[in-house]
C-alpha cells in the first residue's frame, strides 16, 4: 500500500513537471487534469493491466495524446488515467491493453480495446468513464460432456477404455485450466445413506481427484474452446472399430502401476496429476453413471489437501436381517466453493438421491433408464447450448443436459 502511495506521488510529480513544460498562451482553455476511468467487469478479481495504451485524438487539431501503461493508476477494480494540460475540445478516445485476472478463482486473460468517439472535454466536463464492454466475463469452465458409458464390441460386450470428459471454457475470456481437478463423488446416487457428519452443504466428498498440471498459466483455453480428458488417450479404433480415436486428447487419466494386472496404456497426451484415488487398480468412470462428477479449481497445494481434507463418514448399513453402523473411510472432501461445475449422474430405476449440493447441481442426468441397460453404450450426457452458442448453466443438469445424446466424438 505504501508503495502504491509512493508511486502515486511520483506520478503526480511527473505530471506537474509536464504541466510546466506544456504551458501555452493559446486562447483555447487547457484543462489542468482530465481523467479517464477504465471500468473493468466487476466479477473479475485480481485484475492486472499490462501493455495498455490510451490514445486521445483531438478531432479538430488531429493532435494525439498517448498515455502508456505506466500512467494507469489502479483504483479498486478499475484503472484511472490522468491527462494533464489537455486542450479542451472534442476527442476520440481509445484504450487498449491486456488484462490478467481471476474469474471465479480461475486465472484468465483478455485483450481489450474500447473506443469513445467525439467526446467533449471541457473545463466542466473532464472526467471520462469508459467501460470494457467487449466482453462480459460471465461463466467459466463447465463440464460440457461426460461420456461414461463406453462403447460396445461387435459381440455386445462393454468396452470402457474410451471414456472421456470434456470441459469447456464457457466464458468470453481466455481461462487457464491449470489446477482444475476432475472429481468423482465418493457416494453413489443409487445408495442413499445418512452419512454423519453431513457435509454436503459445504463440501463435496470425493473418491478420486485427478488434476490438470501446470505452473498456473500452462493451459490457456480460449473462450468457447474445450479440453478433452480421456481415460485412455489412444486411438481405440485400431482395436475396437466401434470406438473412438482419442489420441488427440488434451490430457489422460493415467494410472501408473507396477502391477501387470492393471497395465494402463500411456497415450501421447500429458497425464493428469493423480492426487488421490480410492483404488490401486485401473481408474475409470462408473459405466452406468452411479457417481456424480465435478470440476474444481484446487485452491491449495497437493500436500495441504492430502493432509487436511480427509473425510470419515459413518452411516447405518441395513441389508436383509442385518444392520450395522459402518464407517466409510478413504474419502477426501473439496469445499463447494472450489467447485466450478458439477453434474449428478444416475439411473432412474435405481436412483435414490443427489450427492452434490443443490447449489452446484439441483438436478441429475443419465444414460439408460434401467440398471445395466445395454442400450446406454455410445451415449453420453451433453450440455445444451443457447441461441448464442453458449452452454446453458443453470446449476440444474436436468434442464441443462441432453441425456442419452450420441457421444460427440463418436463418428457414426
Amino acid at each position: 500500500m505504501k508503495k502504491l502511495i509512493l508511486n502515486s506521488i511520483m506520478m503526480m510529480l511527473a505530471f506537474t513537471m509536464c504541466l510546466t513544460s506544456c504551458s501555452s498562451d493559446d486562447p483555447v482553455p487547457v484543462i489542468p487534469t482530465a481523467t479517464v476511468t477504465l471500468e473493468v467487469p466487476a466479477n473479475l478479481k485480481n485484475v492486472v493491466l499490462s501493455g495498455a495504451r490510451a490514445t486521445l485524438t483531438n478531432v479538430e487539431t488531429k493532435q494525439v495524446v498517448t498515455i502508456d501503461n505506466t500512467k494507469f493508476i489502479k483504483q479498486g477494480n478499475d484503472y484511472k488515467i490522468m491527462c494533464n494540460e489537455l486542450v479542451a475540445g472534442t476527442y476520440n478516445v481509445a484504450v487498449n491493453g491486456h488484462l490478467d485476472f481471476t474469474l471465479n478463482g480461475v486465472a484468465g486473460q483478455k485483450d481489450f480495446e474500447v473506443r469513445s468517439e467525439n467526446v467533449a472535454i471541457s473545463s466542466t466536463s473532464h472526467d471520462l468513464k469508459m467501460t470494457i464492454s467487449t466482453f462480459t466475463a460471465q461463466g467459466g469452465f463447465v463440464i460440457s460432456e461426460i461420456f461414461f458409458t463406453g462403447t460396445s464390441t461387435a459381440e455386445g460386450k462393454s468396452y470402457s477404455g474410451d471414456q472421456y470428459i470434456i470441459i469447456t471454457n464457457n466464458s468470453d475470456v481466455t481461462l487457464y485450466a491449470d489446477s482444475i481437478a476432475v472429481l468423482e463423488s465418493a457416494f453413489l446416487t443409487t445408495d442413499k445413506q445418512d452419512y454423519e457428519p453431513d457435509i454436503m452443504s459445504t463440501h463435496f466428498s470425493v473418491q478420486a481427484c485427478y488434476m490438470i498440471p501446470g505452473n498456473g498459466k500452462s493451459v490457456p483455453v480460449e473462450p468457447g474452446k474445450s479440453l478433452k480428458l480421456a481415460v485412455n488417450a489412444i486411438n481405440h479404433t485400431t482395436e475396437q472399430p466401434n470406438s473412438i480415436d482419442l489420441s488427440d486428447a488434451d490430457f489422460e487419466f493415467y494410472d501408473e502401476t507396477s502391477n501387470p494386472n492393471f497395465t494402463d496404456p500411456d497415450g501421447n497426451a500429458p497425464n493428469l496429476d493423480k492426487w488421490y484415488c480410492y483404488t490401486a487398480t485401473i481408474y475409470q468412470f462408473h459405466s452406468r453413471g452411479f457417481n456424480s462428477m465435478a470440476i474444481a479449481k484446487m485452491q491449495t497445494s497437493k500436500e495441504d489437501w492430502l493432509e487436511n481434507y480427509v473425510y470419515d463418514a459413518t452411516y447405518m448399513f441395513v441389508f436383509g436381517d442385518f444392520s450395522k453402523e459402518m464407517t466409510k473411510s478413504g474419502l477426501y472432501k473439496v469445499p463447494n466453493g472450489w467447485i466450478l461445475d458439477g453434474v449428478n449422474l444416475s439411473v432412474e430405476s435405481v436412483r435414490e438421491w443427489n450427492v452434490l449440493d443443490a447449489s452446484i447441481d439441483a438436478g441429475w442426468t443419465y444414460c439408460g433408464k434401467v440398471d445395466r441397460d445395454d442400450t446406454r453404450f455410445d451415449k453420453s450426457v451433453i450440455r445444451k447450448k443457447d441461441a448464442n452458442g453458449k452452454y446453458i448453466d443453470t446449476n440444474n443438469s436436468t434442464n441443462d443436459f441432453i441425456p442419452e445424446a450420441p457421444a460427440s466424438l463418436l463418428n457414426k
Binding site: 462393454s158 475396437q240 502401476t257 507396477s258 501387470p260 501421447n268 480410492y278 483404488t279 436381517d321
Partner: protein, 909 residues
C-alpha cells in the same frame, strides 16, 4: 523304520496264535431279535451264584467242562436266561424292552461308547434323499434345508459353519468310509488358478473334504455318523467320521424314481444271493439330474454312479472267511453355460467333471475256536480319478493388457494380449489313491472282563498324475493369473503310515458295568523333503472313551438303565497335497510401460520374481475332543445327552505375507515416439530403483476352531393306540472361529500417484462366535394295517447368534517399503500415509446379532401298495412355518419361507 518294527511285531503276534486244547464248553450269546452278539454278558453258575466268565466282543464264552452246571446268563438290558449248557452253544437273550418289528424313521443314538448317530435304511426311505447331504437333517443340530446341488456340499459336524474357506479344516477333517474304504480327497487339485468369477470359485472344493453330492444313498444299508471320539482304527480326521455300509445280498430288482423341485433321480438295482454258496452280488446304478433353477437348463449338476459288490463267505469249522469286493464308478458333472440369447458369446461355459473308479477288496477272518486271535481284517482299496474342469470364455479387453510368460526370474518382456480372443483353460487332475489296512482283534483270556485288543496298521498313498492347469498363456481366460503351468505329476506322492492299538474292556460287576475303550494311534507323513517340520515326525493320537452303567433299576414298574460316559481324544489331519506343495507364485513388476500408436513399438518390460509359497513349517491340524454323556432308558424310552468341547488350534489357513522386491522404474518420457523404428531400447533409458512390498498367500496352521455344545435325543416307545412315536432331538452349538496368527493388509488407496506403500500388521485378526439352539419334534406314525407311514416334524430354531470378534482398528506394527518393521505409534494415525492403515470397523460391527425363533413344519408320507411291491412316498418341507418379523437395531426384518416338496416311487420286482 520304527513303524516297520511295529508291523513285524503285530504280524508275529498274529502268527503266535495257538488253539487252546483244554476241554471246554463254549458258546455264543446273541440278542434274540437282532442276532447280534451280546458283549460282556455274565455267565454264572445258577446254583452257586458264582460268576464263571463273561462273553467276549463276539459274544462267545468258554468255561471248563462240567455237566452239572446250570448257567445263568445276565446282561444289562436283557432278561436273565437260566439254562443248561446246550450243544449248539447258541444262547438267545430277550431284550427287556422289545424293539421287534419297530420301524425307525429317525436317526438313533449309538448304544456303544462312541457318540454317533445311526441311520438305517427305513429312515432314508422315509426321508427321500437325493444325496448324502440330505441325511444330515437327522443328526442332532440338523435341520432340513433345501438341496443345493449346483455347488459342492460339505459336511459340518457340531458347528455353525461360516462358509469361510479358512475354516474348512472341519469338513476336510471329516473322513468318509464306504464299506471300509476311505474316500480320499488329499490329491484334489481341481481349482481354476487365477479365477475370480463366481461360476468357477463357488464350485472350488479343494481342501474342503468330500463333496457329499457325489454320494448316492440308494445302496446304503446303514450309516453311522461319528460325532464324538472314534476308535483309533480311524485316522486322518479331526472332526468326525462317516461310516457307510452298503447292502449285500437280497433278491430281485429295485427301481426308484424321485422328483423334487430341483432334481430328478433314477435308480435301478439287481440283487443276487446264492445262499448255499454264501455268495452275493449287487449291481446298481443311479442317475441324478439337478438344476439350480428349474427354468434354467444351462446350469445343472448331474451324477451317475454304478456299483458292483460281490461278497463270498467261507464258513469252516474253526473260522469264517469273508471276501468282499466292490467296483464302483461315479461321475459328477457341473455345467454352467451362458445363455446365448442373453449374453455375448456362445463360448462362455464352465464344466467340471469328476470320474472316479474305485476298487475295494476286503478279507475278513473270524475265528470260532477259543483263541487269542478273534478276527483279522485286510482291506485294500484303490481309486483312480479323471477330473477335468473346462472353462471357456470370450475375452474382450478394455485396455492394453499383458500376459507375463517368463518362467524364470529376471527381466523380461511381457506379451501384449490381443483385444479379443477366446480363452480356454483346463484343469486336469488324475488323483490316484491306494489304501491298505491290516487289523487284528485279539483277546486276552479272562473270566472277569470281556476284552478286545485291536492292533493294526494302515498306509495311504495320494498321488496326482494329471497335467494340472492347462491353458494357452497367449490366450488366458484369467488375465491376472499369477501361476504358470506345472504338471501335477511332478509333485511327490503323499505317503501316510499309521499304526494303532486299542484295548476295549467291558467289566460287569454287581455295582454296574464299566466299559473302557482306550487306544493310541501314531501317524507319520513320508516322502517329504528334509526341511519340513513334519519330516520323520510321529503324531500321536491317544483316545479314550469310558462308560459306567448303573445296575438295573425300576421306576413305575419299568426297567430303567442309566449310563454315564466320558471321552477324550486327540485327532490329527494331515495337510493335503495342495497345502503341502502349492503352485509357485510369479510376482511380476512393470519396469517399463511404453505405449505407441504402432503396436509393434509397444513394450512392457517386467521384472519377475518366483516365490515358493510352500510352508515347510506346516503341521497337521489337530483337534482335541472332550465329552461327557448321559444315557437314560426307561422302559424303552431313551434320552441321550452329550456335552462336548472340541478345540482345534492348528486348522489350515491361507495367510498373506508381504515381502520387499526391487525393480527398475524406467522413465520413458525421453523417448521420442516419432523417431522410433522399433521397440524402445532399455539400455539408454534412465531409471530409478524402487522397493515395493508385494503380498502372497501361503498355508499356515493359523485357524482356531472351538466347538462347544450339547446334543440331545429323546426317543419314545411307539404309543400303542395312536401308533405314534415321538423323537425330540436337537443341539445347542457354540462355535468360535479365530485367527491365531498376525494378519497383514495393504491399503489400496493411491495417494499422489502411488499406492500406499505400507503394510499394516494386525494381531489375531478375524474371528467370530456363532451360536444356535434347535429342537426337532418328530412324530412318526406307522400303521402296518394300512401300510402307511407318515411323519410330521416341527423343526424349531430357537435362536441363532453371530458376533464378530472385536479387533482393533489399529495395527500393532507396520512394514515399510524397504521391508523394515516398525512399531505402531499413536501419532502415526495422523500421518498422511500411515493413517490409511487404520481400518474402519465401527463398534456395531462387533455387536451380537441375534435371529429369534423360527419354526418349519415338514411332512412326509409313505404308502406301500401291491403286496409291498410299490412304495410311494412324498415329502413337503416347510409346509407351514412360523417365522415372525423381528427388530434389529431399529429395522424390521421380514423373513420368508418357501415350501419345498418332492415325490418318489419305489418298485420292487
Amino acid at each position: 523304520m520304527q513303524l516297520i518294527r511295529y508291523i513285524i511285531l503285530a504280524i508275529s503276534l498274529l502268527a503266535s496264535q495257538l488253539a487252546d486244547a483244554q476241554s471246554l464248553i463254549s458258546g455264543v450269546v446273541l440278542d434274540a431279535e437282532t442276532m447280534e452278539p451280546v458283549i460282556g454278558a455274565t455267565i454264572a453258575d445258577a446254583r452257586r451264584g458264582k460268576a464263571l466268565t463273561v462273553t467276549q466282543a463276539d459274544g462267545t464264552f468258554a468255561i471248563p467242562k462240567n455237566n452239572e452246571v446250570q448257567l445263568r446268563i445276565t446282561s444289562i438290558g436283557y432278561k436273565p436266561l437260566v439254562t443248561a449248557p446246550i450243544a449248539s452253544g447258541r444262547y438267545l437273550l430277550q431284550a427287556e424292552v422289545s424293539q421287534l418289528g419297530e420301524v425307525v424313521v429317525t436317526a438313533q443314538e449309538n448304544r456303544g461308547l462312541t457318540t454317533s448317530s445311526k441311520i438305517e435304511k427305513h429312515a432314508m426311505e422315509h426321508l427321500q434323499p437325493s444325496s448324502f447331504a440330505d441325511l444330515l437333517e437327522l443328526i442332532p443340530g440338523g435341520r432340513s434345508i433345501d438341496p443345493s446341488l449346483s455347488t459342492p456340499n460339505n459336511i459340518h459336524i457340531r458347528e455353525i459353519s461360516t462358509g469361510n474357506s479358512n475354516y474348512a479344516t472341519s469338513s476336510l477333517g471329516t473322513s468318509f468310509i464306504i464299506d471300509g474304504a476311505p474316500i480320499s480327497t488329499g490329491a484334489n487339485m481341481q481349482y481354476l488358478a487365477g479365477a475370480w468369477d463366481d461360476m468357477a470359485t463357488s464350485r472350488d472344493n479343494t481342501n474342503a473334504g468330500v463333496d457329499m453330492r457325489g454320494i448316492s444313498t440308494d445302496d446304503i444299508e446303514r450309516v453311522e455318523i461319528v460325532r464324538g471320539i472314534p476308535s483309533v482304527e480311524y485316522g486322518d480326521l479331526t472332526s468326525g467320521l462317516v461310516k457307510i455300509e452298503r447292502r449285500h445280498g437280497g433278491q430281485g430288482m429295485k427301481f426308484r424314481l424321485k422328483a423334487d423341485m430341483g432334481s430328478k433321480l433314477f435308480y435301478a438295482a439287481k440283487d443276487f444271493e446264492w445262499e448255499p454258496k454264501r455268495l452275493t452280488l449287487n449291481v446298481s446304478a443311479d442317475y441324478l439330474d439337478a438344476k439350480a433353477d428349474p427354468r434354467n437348463r444351462l446350469e445343472n449338476y448331474k451324477r451317475m454312479t454304478i456299483s458292483t459288490r460281490l461278497q463270498k463267505r467261507w464258513e469252516k469249522e474253526s473260522y469264517d472267511l469273508t471276501l468282499s469286493t466292490n467296483i464302483d464308478y461315479s461321475r459328477s458333472l457341473d455345467n454352467d453355460k451362458e445363455d446365448v440369447d442373453q449374453t455375448y458369446s456362445a463360448e462362455d461355459s464352465y464344466k467340471s467333471s469328476y470320474n472316479r473308479y474305485a476298487l475295494m477288496a476286503a478279507l475278513q477272518l473270524k475265528t470260532k475256536r477259543p483263541s487269542w486271535l478273534k478276527s483279522a481284517d485286510l482291506t485294500l482299496s484303490t481309486s483312480v480319478e479323471n477330473d477335468l474342469i473346462e472353462r471357456t470364455r470370450l475375452v474382450q479387453l478394455s485396455r492394453m493388457t499383458v500376459a507375463p510368460l517368463s518362467k524364470e526370474e529376471g527381466e523380461n518382456d511381457a506379451y501384449i494380449l490381443p483385444f479379443k480372443y477366446i480363452g480356454h483353460h483346463e484343469v486336469e487332475g488324475k488323483p490316484v489313491n491306494a489304501f491298505i489296512k491290516l487289523n487284528a482283534r485279539l483277546q486276552i483270556p479272562s473270566n472277569t472282563v470281556s476284552n478286545t485288543l485291536l492292533i493294526g496298521t494302515d498306509w495311504n498313498l495320494d498321488k496326482n498324475l494329471g497335467r494340472g492347469q492347462v491353458f494357452d498363456p497367449y490366450k488366458p481366460v484369467y488375465t491376472g493369473i499369477s501361476s504358470r503351468q506345472r504338471s501335477l505329476n511332478a509333485i511327490p506322492a503323499n505317503h501316510r503310515l499309521s499304526v494303532y492299538a486299542e484295548e476295549s474292556v467291558k467289566w460287569p460287576t454287581a455295582i454296574g458295568t464299566l466299559e473302557i475303550a482306550a487306544g493310541i494311534r501314531a501317524t507319520t507323513l513320508m516322502n517329504l523333503e528334509q526341511d519340513y517340520t513334519m519330516n520323520g515326525k510321529l503324531y500321536w493320537d491317544p483316545r479314550a472313551n469310558i462308560g459306567y452303567s448303573l445296575p438295573r433299576l425300576s421306576i413305575f414298574g419299568k426297567p430303567m438303565f442309566i449310563r454315564l460316559a466320558a471321552g477324550i481324544g486327540q485327532h490329527t489331519k494331515m495337510p493335503t497335497m495342495e497345502q503341502l506343495f502349492p503352485d509357485l507364485l510369479y510376482v511380476d513388476f512393470i519396469q517399463l510401460n511404453y505405449y505407441h500408436d504402432n503396436p509393434d513399438y509397444r513394450r512392457i518390460n517386467l521384472m519377475t520374481y518366483i516365490v515358493n509359497p510352500r510352508n515347510a513349517a506346516l503341521e497337521p491340524a489337530r483337534n482335541l475332543k472332550k465329552e461327557v454323556s448321559l444315557d437314560i432308558n426307561i422302559g424303552g424310552n431313551r434320552l441321550a445327552v452329550t456335552a462336548f468341547r472340541e478345540r482345534m488350534t492348528s486348522g489350515f489357513r491361507m495367510q498373506s505375507h508381504y515381502q520387499t522386491f526391487q525393480y527398475k522404474q524406467y522413465d520413458a518420457s525421453g523417448i521420442s515416439a516419432a523417431s522410433l523404428t522399433g521397440q524402445p531400447s532399455l539400455d539408454a533409458l534412465p531409471y530409478t530403483t524402487i522397493n515395493e512390498l508385494a503380498g502372497y498367500g501361503n498355508y499356515t496352521n493359523g485357524s482356531m476352531t472351538l466347538k462347544e455344545g450339547v446334543e440331545y435325543t429323546l426317543e419314545t416307545q411307539r404309543f400303542p393306540v395312536i401308533l405314534t412315536r415321538l423323537t425330540i432331538n436337537g443341539a445347542y452349538f457354540r462355535t468360535t472361529y479365530n485367527n491365531s496368527i498376525v494378519d497383514s493388509y495393504r491399503p489400496s488407496q493411491v495417494i499422489d500417484n502411488r499406492q500406499i506403500q505400507y503394510v499394516g500388521l494386525y494381531d489375531n485378526d478375524d474371528g467370530s462366535v456363532r451360536e444356535s439352539f434347535n429342537t426337532n419334534f418328530t412324530l412318526d406314525t406307522d400303521v402296518p394295517r394300512l401300510k402307511l407311514g407318515f411323519s410330521i416334524s416341527a423343526q424349531c430354531l430357537w435362536f441363532t447368534t453371530s458376533q464378530r470378534k472385536e479387533v482393533s482398528n489399529y495395527p500393532v506394527q507396520y512394514i515399510s517399503p524397504h521391508g523394515s518393521i516398525h512399531d505402531w505409534k499413536e501419532s502415526d494415525a495422523d500421518d498422511m500415509y500411515l493413517r490409511w492403515l487404520v481400518r474402519d470397523y465401527t463398534p456395531s460391527l462387533f455387536e451380537k446379532n441375534r435371529v429369534p425363533f423360527a419354526m418349519n413344519v415338514n411332512m412326509k408320507v409313505t404308502k406301500k401298495l401291491f403286496d409291498d411291491r410299490l412304495h410311494i412316498a412324498m415329502f413337503c418341507n416347510k409346509l407351514w412355518d412360523y417365522t415372525p418379523d423381528y427388530d434389529s437395531r431399529g429395522t424390521t426384518i421380514r423373513r420368508h419361507v418357501t415350501p419345498y416338496f418332492g415325490l418318489e416311487m419305489n418298485i420292487k420286482l
